[in-house]
Homo-oligomer: 452 residues x 2
Amino acid sequence: MNAPVSPIERLHLELPELDWITDPGRIARLSQDFAWFSPVLDRQLKDKRADAVVRPRTEEEVRALVSACARLSVPITIRGSGTGNYGQTTPLAGGVVLDMTGYNAVQWVRPGVARAQAGIRLGELEKHAKASGQELRCIPSTYRSATLGGLFGGGFGGVGSINYGPLGAPGNVLGLRAMTIEPEPQIVELRGAEALRMHHLWGTNGLVLELEVALAPAHPWLESLVVFDAFDNALAFGNALANAPGIVKREVAFFASPVPDHLAQLAEYLPKGCHAVLSLVDESSESTMLELLQAHGGSMSYRKTAEEVRKSNRTLMEFTWNHTTLHALKVDKSLTYLQSSFVPGHQVEQITAMEKLFAGEVLMHAEFLRNLDGLVTCSALQLVRFTTEERLDEIIRMHREHGVRINNPHTFVVEDGKAGGALPPEVIAMKKRFDPQGLLNPGKLRDWPVSR
Amino acid sequence: MNAPVSPIERLHLELPELDWITDPGRIARLSQDFAWFSPVLDRQLKDKRADAVVRPRTEEEVRALVSACARLSVPITIRGSGTGNYGQTTPLAGGVVLDMTGYNAVQWVRPGVARAQAGIRLGELEKHAKASGQELRCIPSTYRSATLGGLFGGGFGGVGSINYGPLGAPGNVLGLRAMTIEPEPQIVELRGAEALRMHHLWGTNGLVLELEVALAPAHPWLESLVVFDAFDNALAFGNALANAPGIVKREVAFFASPVPDHLAQLAEYLPKGCHAVLSLVDESSESTMLELLQAHGGSMSYRKTAEEVRKSNRTLMEFTWNHTTLHALKVDKSLTYLQSSFVPGHQVEQITAMEKLFAGEVLMHAEFLRNLDGLVTCSALQLVRFTTEERLDEIIRMHREHGVRINNPHTFVVEDGKAGGALPPEVIAMKKRFDPQGLLNPGKLRDWPVSR
């Protein structure tokens, strides 16, 4: 008796040597990311499941899997460690989740540049870079588990973006090796601007195998928390620190009260009700920072030298960017968040205006960074006391009315999130070239429906 | 027979062990700097002479000289290598020129910081820094001969200021050791903001013995010249390169035609009539710069890797900042120059407007840098076809009317140059504390006349 065999079963039969994950619990977990930060995405995505997860170890295994999926028209959703929070790696149409974490070799580290397979964890790559006195230019707070390919496909930047801008700023990613999704997969090296056409598209227009990224010189980073009684002083200090050209830094974050009250693990350093600035500055810049701090009426409550950080394996970087959100949501389930950016040079006035408008409902957490044009501004990841989806939409609308750009984190559609509007033609061309059958992460591009 | 002994003769008699320079030709030379760039200063200063020049080798020798000068009321003008161009080191009232170039030891180089005696040549200090993979944050084009103390006392910044801003940006100079000018000289360590109160004051309010400066990580700098047919394209490229956060650089200079025609030593790389951009970028940023170059329609005419630069001991840094002026004045004696700064973010439109207004008479040479607030802008060192002092004043006035700030390089008075306006009270306080008799470089402070 021959029961009809499903495409997924065919894959298993054809490629038994691959590392398949079949346990339903693990498949469920590997179909999800941190989209639960958003009650909207949580509702939309929490029940989405892959039919199977596979974890290739070599390019040949990737190729065999891709070839079979293309022949059998099985959707492929590429996954790093699932530290994204827009459902980037959640399959909407079943199929295979391609977990890249087993494909994780460092190819080489040279002065200023490193090349590695997409599944390498960023913390691991940073360790390799440190061996030659270098470090990654920008890494997310999730660097311990997040992968290089995941950062490129679904991430933005993070710690270090105060110097180098977002990962997408030309010069940070120098090239990549990608595979087309076809019965006979092609492998192509893309350089410079062409490589960036696969950036921040949720793995919808190409399967990235390797990435070549520029490195920064490693500095001995002093990690500190400074606290203030007054919102204005804390924000002004953070802004001055971020802008000061003579103070070398890797990270500056501003937490308005009551955000610090939500960072339970740092409670002993954050007096109840304080406003705080978290920073990493070069140890040689400490005295200059302290002069600036004194001028703004703040005091230092936490201070670890680079050597202390290294020995303890504990870093404030894991309290920045979306880790702040994570820590806060852990202690208060009623919170969700926003992502927004401000007009460069007007970040202080816009943040102050938003605080006046939404105090108590929208809790300000702003990260200083350079934008694509090199101008210092803030990217805020405000915490929001969630009531209804309607009120959330209203808050977003009111921000926009005040000239604050919202990168809506409550959508899984690429075009509705950070990118905004239609995809540029060169990105569409990349999609046609690398995924002619529309099998990559289907449903995430508005203009490229699942049915195609 | 006892002829009356002059104070200078007394000095010689009291301190015969010092390294005195008595040859009138050498005294004349060591009383001058590059003020001849300005026909105005040249007229005012060319005949000024010290009565003697002394070159101390130890702190004890400096102290003995200072003590004697204070007792005998002999003016002291501190000199590095005389590479300034506002007559900083030209004595207006005779006395002693204190040539610091023999006081030149490196005290130490640590991660991120170096400390050295004021008379060390910057090129020498940079060599010491390079030994541990570091370099100076900002150095002038005159680094081969210019001294650390001279840069601090009479300079501004230079190559590297595109990253760290001017030398005066907090964090670049961390501290200094200074001597008071008194019969019993005091030695004081000043840190941070207090140290900066002696910066850019022509050595009028303190004798700096040692300086502690922050360092930068050394990069393998690719030196290049790129050329364009069109003014607008060249300027837009330079501006984009300077701002691009993902392109690591140390220097970006824009030379509008016909400035490149004046750089005789680079003639083979600078086609007649071209507009050019000179840059130092990290070798790993080259491909990204080339993409930017292609987008702006330029082409690379000169390219040396860091290794080639090192081996040849020839660097494009010696064609930037006031070296451009020097090279041009060598081939065209009718030229003089201006120094100006533009409103950050409006440098392209302001430079373009000035070009329209003065084409042929004011030749644009602009250096990209970060200002004290960390904003990218330009500092221009325009070449000017000199006719009369009245026309020069008119050109300055017209620039100011168009919102372009002129840092008048045709005055030797501190307050009339870069600083502008009155001296801040904390600088005056420093003058009173360190030079109560008013012996340091008298005549250079408007509010502190020689007669005091």
